[in-house]
């Protein structure tokens, strides 16, 4: 496989406590009744599955898998599939819940679901991985459908696995049905290449945040932690918008040039070697002794795009940025979040900052249903429309009610869900 499984989609929301805490805060803010809370909170369906798979040595190994459909009230549920050793049903339920709220926040006609297989994909052969993937979908026949539940790639899964899932479904139903799985390669109904919805979404959020903070993007100083696909494409977009990227980092370290980093050269290095290691010998910049110093640089915009809990009570007082864009999930601890809000730093919450990716999935689904494919420009425009509307609506609530953007986003999502739950009523 050309694509590394562990880094293909290395992101999905992590600390579950926060997901529920945000909902509870929004529900309390809106004064929902216990009945409404129960209708919104409980998952519609949760499955524990066993997947017997024939291994290359002829033995049969039984894998455990989980699948949760949290809500289909606003439309078919959509969510990622994880293949990794440390998963359980509780995690999957929280992720499904999160997906429901993100789709409602963005006003997309989707509910939320999530799935996971307990396995170490790096320890499986390609054949074993394929049989495992197909077995997973076979167990979900009747649930996974273009109008009921849709799967996307997440931690430990990639385009190849999405293709196997799509093939299993299509063969089973004797119908070519690409809309059942999203994040496919262009050749099988995926988005046209050259569009980077995730990075586009972050870029737009940052632009809108700048407008709100009366900060000019042109000339603004940016530090980005994490230089994977999203971090790199974001650096390119921000650079094109006139911003000065002064620091980038990956697992090998953090690299700084106060006068601005040549984004093209750094991207070329990353694309050639996969890591930023050795960058300091090629480009005019210095490697920081402690990569965590990146968070304390004199920048306007800080983009944590790597792992969770990077800005905490310990270092928040030394953060100088006016805008923090949460590209990673939960990079800001709740305590640090409060302090940032109190002193007027705008934190763009992960659920909004990461809206570009799922917007891209939605547009892939639409195109698969029509069998008609749009040019890159119209996809970019639609991604920006979807993310922009979500951002504007959430910001409006934040400003009018004087509450943090994170709470405003949750309030907006819960409000939309509650309205639709009321409209549809109870079946029985």
């Amino acid at each position: 496989m050309t694509e590394s499984l562990s880094t293909a989609y290395p992101r999905s929301p992590g600390s579950l406590g926060n997901v529920m805490a945000e909902f509870d805060a929004a529900a309390a803010y809106l004064g929902l009744s216990p009945q409404e809370i129960a209708l919104l909170k409980e998952p519609r369906l949760s499955l524990r599955l066993k997947l017997p798979v024939r291994m290359d040595d002829g033995s049969i190994h039984v894998f455990k898998a989980y699948h949760t459909v949290h809500s289909t009230t606003r439309g078919p549920s959509i969510g990622g599939v994880q293949f990794r050793p440390e998963v359980d049903l509780e995690l999957v339920e929280a992720l499904a819940f999160w997906s429901t709220h993100q789709c409602a926040l963005l006003n997309m006609p989707f509910g939320g679901s999530w799935g996971a297989v307990e396995c170490d994909p790096a320890g499986l052969s390609v054949g074993e991985l394929e049989r495992l993937s197909r077995q997973y979908l076979v167990e979900l026949m009747g649930i996974v459908k273009p109008n009921n539940d849709i799967l996307t790639a997440d931690i430990g899964t990639n385009q190849q696995i999405m293709c196997w899932l799509m093939d299993t479904y299509s063969v089973h139903y004797r119908d070519f049905e690409p809309a059942v799985v999203l994040g496919k390669p262009t050749d099988l109904g995926g988005l046209v290449s050259g569009v980077h919805p995730a990075a586009l979404g972050v870029d737009l959020c940052i632009r809108k945040a700048c407008e709100h903070c009366r900060l000019k993007l042109d000339g603004a100083r940016v530090a980005i932690q994490g230089f994977g696909k999203v971090g790199m494409n974001l650096a390119r977009l921000l650079h094109a918008g006139g911003a000065k990227v002064v620091a980038v980092a990956d697992i090998t370290g953090a690299y700084v040039n106060e006068r601005g980093i040549p984004v093209d050269k750094v991207s070329w290095h990353q694309e050639s070697y996969g890591l930023l290691d050795g960058l300091e010998s090629e480009v005019d910049l210095i490697k920081l002794d402690d990569p965590m110093q990146l968070f304390e640089l004199a920048v306007d915009i800080l983009v944590p795009a790597a792992v969770e809990l990077q800005v905490t009570d310990e270092n928040v007082d030394r953060v100088q940025a006016k805008i923090v864009a949460e590209v990673a999930y939960d990079p800001v601890s709740p305590g640090a979040d409060r302090k940032l809000y109190e002193r007027g730093t705008l934190v763009i919450p992960d659920i909004l900052c990461n809206a570009g990716g799922v917007s891209g999935h939605y547009l892939e689904w639409v195109q698969n249903r029509m069998g008609y494919y749009w040019a890159a420009e119209s996809i970019r425009r639609d991604v920006c429309d979807i993310v922009g509307q979500g951002f504007d609506s959430a910001l409006k609530i934040a400003v009018e009610d004087s509450i943090p953007l994170r709470l405003a986003a949750a309030v907006l999502a819960v409000k939309r869900l509650a309205a639709v739950v009321r409209l549809r009523g109870a079946y029985g």
Binding site: T72, R74, G75, P109, K145, M370, L423, R424, G425, Y427
Partner: protein, 430 residues
């Protein structure tokens, strides 16, 4: 096979909008030299379903409601038409309205046949929970009739977007698939379309634009009288004012209000929003209350929009109509006799089946959006709605000139040709 007398509507009552329409249909069929067999195929309903709906009432009693769904014609596509909740629903009425939908859809050339449904009930006497159980039972009882490619209901008298949401939910739960295209007229949050609320009024305005061009009228500065200030009349007033027209008279059940300098439309809208009716408009603005509301129809205006009830312009008052253009916002506001008199006077009439088809056209656009799962902004909706209304208007105007018939008969000629072509190309199944 000849159609038995009384198939549509009772003959004991004064001519209804529908009976008038039937006469126009027959006139059009004659122009097209259709054979009795051809007429029978496209005139009679294809499938009539009557069911009894047992519903548990809040007090524990079970009440049985009579309900209908008629699929009149499905040659051009799935049946399309509203569901009516009203105490006076009859099967004849439902059949008649389903017939009407077949031709309305064909007039604006949307890929639908015609259908209609009804439940004999008084929704104002049902609790919310009873209404929900009744709506779900109605849908469940006929679940195999409905489907995005079979039969697509919509709101009508006594039903609303909330009831459409229950229909959607009953269908989605039963099929285990989210298929919002099974019903239209939904709230925006559940797959409804932008532009739906104003759709009928907007369609009227688009046809008025076309007619004005045809007559050499400049809409800017035209005077307009509008009868009826419900959803259609009030939005038509707002939209026509935006076109540059001067709205000199409006009316509702409380009376007719006249101001030659122009009614303050936003004040009238605000009044209806707070008071429910226009009553008192003569005190709040410079408008005067007409002593007889029927005078509104006889005002010296360029454009008259009857958007209230049927049979308002008759052989009695048609001679006194001074408008150059009459746009039928309501169904059947002109009697056949009035039609003849206005034609002699050279008044141009935009017939109801074309004029108020904006609603079903936006329903169609809602259905398309649901099928694709992609939602348009209002500008895009208006692009399609205006184009479709204009194309329909032009086709009918051409036909009217070609056959030397009025716009109403021409609308039926166009629609019958479309339905007959589809029907005959498809042939008989067995």
């Amino acid at each position: 096979m000849p159609v038995p007398p009384g198939t549509f509507g009772s003959t004991a009552q004064p001519p209804s909008a529908f009976e008038n329409a039937m006469r126009q249909f027959d006139a059009a069929a004659k122009i097209l030299n259709l054979t009795p067999n051809q007429i029978a195929v496209i005139k009679q309903p294809r499938r009539v379903t009557e069911v009894k709906l047992p519903v548990r009432m809040d007090d524990g009693r079970i009440e049985i409601f009579t309900a209908y769904r008629v699929q009149h014609n499905v040659a051009r596509g799935p049946a399309k038409g509203g569901v009516r909740f009203h105490p006076e629903v009859t099967l004849d009425e439902v059949k008649a309205l389903a017939f009407w939908m077949t031709y309305k859809c064909a007039v604006v050339n949307i890929p639908f046949g015609g259908g209609k449904g009804g439940v004999v009930c008084d929704p104002s006497k049902l609790s919310e929970a009873e209404l929900e159980r009744l709506a779900r039972r109605y849908f469940a009882e006929m679940i195999d009739l409905f489907g995005p490619d079979r039969d697509v209901p919509a709101p009508d008298v006594g039903t609303n977007p909330q009831i459409m949401s229950w229909f959607l939910d009953a269908y989605a739960s039963h099929k285990r698939d989210f298929l919002p295209a099974v019903v239209t007229g939904k709230p925006i949050d559940l797959g409804g379309s932008q532009g739906r609320v104003e759709a009928t009024a907007q369609g009227i305005v688009y046809t008025i634009r076309q007619a004005a061009t045809h007559l050499g009228l400049n809409l800017r500065g035209c005077t307009v009288a509008i009868e009826g200030f419900g959803n259609v009349g009030s939005n038509a007033a707002k939209l026509l004012e935006r076109e540059g027209c001067r709205i000199v008279a409006v009316s509702d059940v409380s009376g007719a209000y006249h101001d030659e300098a122009g009614i303050d439309v936003s004040a009238a809208l605000a009044r209806v929003k707070t008071h429910g009716v226009l009553a008192g408009l003569e005190r709040a603005t410079k408008a005067s209350l007409l002593s007889d509301p029927m005078e509104l129809l006889e005002l010296d205006v360029d454009i008259l929009v009857p958007a209230a009830l049927e049979n308002r312009i008759t052989g009695e008052n048609a001679g006194r109509v001074r408008a150059r253009l009459v746009a039928e916002g309501a169904n059947g506001p002109l009697t056949t006799e009035a039609d003849r008199i206005l034609a002699e006077k050279g008044v141009f009439v935009i017939p109801d089946i074309l004029c108020n088809a904006g609603g079903v056209t936006v329903s169609y656009l809602e259905w398309v959006q649901n099928k694709v799962g992609y939602y348009w902004k209002n500008e895009r909706i208006q692009e399609d709605l205006s184009r479709m209304m204009e194309e329909a208007f032009r086709a009918i105007l051409e036909t009217s000139l070609q056959y030397g018939v009025d716009m109403r008969v021409a609308a039926f000629v166009v629609a019958i040709q479309r339905v007959t072509r589809a029907s005959e190309m498809r042939g008989l199944y067995a």
